[in-house]
Subunit: 215 residues, 2 copies
């Protein structure tokens, strides 16, 4: 909840021992510290104008509209964007929401897990649901500081050094030397090297050539 | 992983005790049973043509392109759709991926957690990431078996019964009786009742009227 900026945790008939342990834990965050406890769902959602239940069940006999999280999330986002409070109701990990709990819900969402393994870990279900609410597909991508692409001159220096090394190593066959030169130049071009990498490559190749000169 | 149909778990230098415990647990699923162990990242991702790392870090000095999960997910989906194997690399919960681990990655993704609380529980981070890969915004919404809308005649019966009850209760003022009738009829119209609910409402109102008749 804290990861995704949701701070209003409300517990209904929570297991005493677990709550006390969580509250007194060293790493108890703001969310659990400020969590409020209720004895009924009705009290917990009293001030919310939208109550959405969660279920692992696919298409069992439905009393409620059941939306996949992807589409249901849009409805919840719209509600929140209008400044209206919304509650998302999660059942216990073992039994989920009871039919009685569900009568407090406007509609239900289902995380699109596969049919053979529908039921999720509670913490993971909460994380996935809240992620859907905050995800922003128009978010930008951060790229490392703009790489200055290598110039043709720099690339040609790499090609020359590489060809030198290949010749010294015996890779170049005299008959096909011209073809090898062309192949090598195109190969270096395709590497799409930034200028800084050209420097590094030149250093490596010069060292190799120096070693060839030694022997 | 199993919830979202991902079965190929590969562990690198996993903590022996934790792995053995997980494997021998009663509820150990197919994923953990078939998990393979490696001693280096290089071996673990050897057969993958895309390796995406995960990080909690925002805009620290980047050596890699860093995409938010929403946009990065698209890239991974495309790669998989082309039948090519992709690996998603998660670091340990405490330290994340090391710089050395990251050199095996083509680029990085970041779950868009808030800045003040960036680091996530590992299981939750995996769940959120895999959900992003399988989410399908064009999924349809299941609605309860088509409700047959109430006919005007049925609605009028409800209105009549409700007005009877209101009269018996003393709610209707003689001077404004006509206005109250109109208000009540419009109110019932707005309820958008399905036929089955009309029956139930009629039953309730008849019972109320019966009780009024008794007293």
């Amino acid at each position: 909840m804290s990861n995704f900026g949701c701070f209003d945790l409300r517990l209904v008939n929570a297991y005493r021992v677990a709550v006390d342990e969580a509250r007194s834990a060293v790493k108890a965050g703001a969310v659990i510290e400020k969590a409020r406890e209720f004895t009924t769902v009705a009290e917990a959602v009293a001030d919310c104008s939208l109550v959405v239940g969660t279920t692992a069940i696919g298409n069992r006999e439905l009393q409620h509209t059941l939306k996949r999280l992807e589409t249901g999330g849009t409805g919840i986002r719209k509600h929140l964007a209008a400044g209206a409070p919304a509650a998302i109701l999660f059942g216990s990990e073992k039994f989920g929401l009871s039919n009685d709990d569900m009568t407090h819900c406007d509609w239900l969402i289902r995380i699109p897990t596969r049919e053979e393994h529908g039921s999720m870990n509670l913490g993971q279900a909460v994380a996935v649901t809240l992620y859907e609410l905050i995800r922003n597909p128009r978010a930008v991508t951060a790229t490392p500081r703009a790489k200055k692409a290598a110039t043709s001159e720099q690339l040609e220096r790499v090609t020359t050094l590489l060809l030198d090394a290949l010749r010294h190593s015996g890779y170049v066959n005299e008959k096909t030397a011209a073809s090898t030169e062309h192949k090598t130049r195109r190969l270096v071009k395709r590497m799409d090297l930034p200028g800084a990498d050209v420097e590094a490559l030149q250093g490596m190749l010069r060292q190799i050539l120096w070693k060839f000169g030694q022997s």
